[in-house]
């Protein structure tokens, strides 16, 4: 992938991920940290791409429709990684709100995954979420 494509991918990732986190209503720090770790460890983005993607010129003017359309254009494997990561964000607080389900549904439709493929993404997301979950809870 060319550099600008990597930057577009980073922007798509952060927009998809933050939409899921926001749809979940509260945003534990674990989701924040997991977002960047997933981007670098699983999607393969580098530190600069992750930082620059969050600059206003890249992310501020993108709507969710742009995001869905961008995810749709991604190579299949990458698109599934984005979907898996977004589901991981959703699982990290162990609950799912209606808007979270809707966002997952919209992404899955954009990528055109089959139910089996979606299930596989969910299971993988659940596994990764378990690796990043905090062990203590605040009282």
């Amino acid at each position: 992938m060319y550099e600008s494509e990597q930057l577009d991918l980073a922007t798509l990732w952060f927009l998809s991920a933050r939409t899921m986190a926001i749809a979940g209503e509260d945003m534990p720090t674990v989701q924040e940290a997991a977002t960047g770790l997933y981007a670098q460890a699983i999607i393969g983005l580098n530190e600069d791409e992750c930082r620059v993607a969050k600059n206003a010129e890249h992310i501020a003017n993108k709507t969710l429709i742009d995001c869905l359309s961008g995810v749709r254009r991604l190579p299949r494997e990458l698109a599934e990684k984005v979907l898996t990561g977004v589901m991981m964000i959703s699982y990290s607080d162990r609950s799912m709100k209606p808007l979270e389900v809707r966002w997952a549904s919209m992404l899955a439709s954009a990528i055109e995954v089959t139910p089996d493929e979606f299930q596989r993404c969910c299971v993988n997301a659940r596994i990764i979420a378990s690796m990043l979950r905090p062990r203590m809870q605040a009282s």
């Binding site: 924040e32 770790l37 530190e47 930082r51 429709i65 809707r102 299930q119 299971v123 009282s139």
Partner: protein
Amino acid sequence: MSRNDTNFKFLERFDKRVAQLAKQAEEYVHTDPDSCMFKLRLMVETMAKKLSNLQMRGDISQDLGAMLGALERSGIVPRRQADSMHAIRRDGNAAVHGSTTPVPTAMRRLREAYKVSGWFCKMIKRGSKIKLEEFQPPDPPVPVDIATKSLHGKIDELEESIEQRRLATRESLLMFGPQENVKEVTRRIIEELKALDNVAAAAGEPVIDADFVALVMAMDLEQIEEDPRHGGDSRQARREAEQQLDTIKKHLAEREEAFLEERTFLLQKMNTL
């Protein structure tokens, strides 16, 4: 600031042990910066334990890194304070493991400990009014010569550049950029999401298999892994994900090693002066 004064007088009202450690760190900053770092690390550990006991439930890890991570994830320790506490922990550990601490590094951490302790007092005694005066760096027992002063300046520049690189790493990991207005972004996304939800509902589009999502969330991980439909995939996914996460963690650890090497190199230069 003369040798008998302290920046940490205010701490005595809140936690005598933490106050004592802070004052000892202050005393050692010029004469024995390694010991200053030991004391600061212990001070951070004492604060973290107190905060954990007061505000966390469940198994509390005794490892300081894990404890700080948990406090941060739970939202008890804000990002800025967590960064300072982690920096003190890292440099304290390096000192314990034989890496020499330069005076400017110890002074920088002492200043950070001062800011963190003001916040700590407010956390352990809600409603307490603390107005931190500007930090007064303790005076050296003997005047510092020009060559040492110049080297201290270089070390301070290096520390600043290390801080900037750490900050860049941190920013790359977070969900929002430092210049973003999180409230405004959240409002906009919620608005868009609700509009899309309304359109989808009006079009009669069912949400994806919500029952399945609920089932996966409710299942124990072991059950998922044993499930013949997913077992192969999930075990493979776990192996791959663990490997990839380890690579990133290793990269971050190697960078910290490199930071220490840069600092040691400068100190070696000082010794040859």
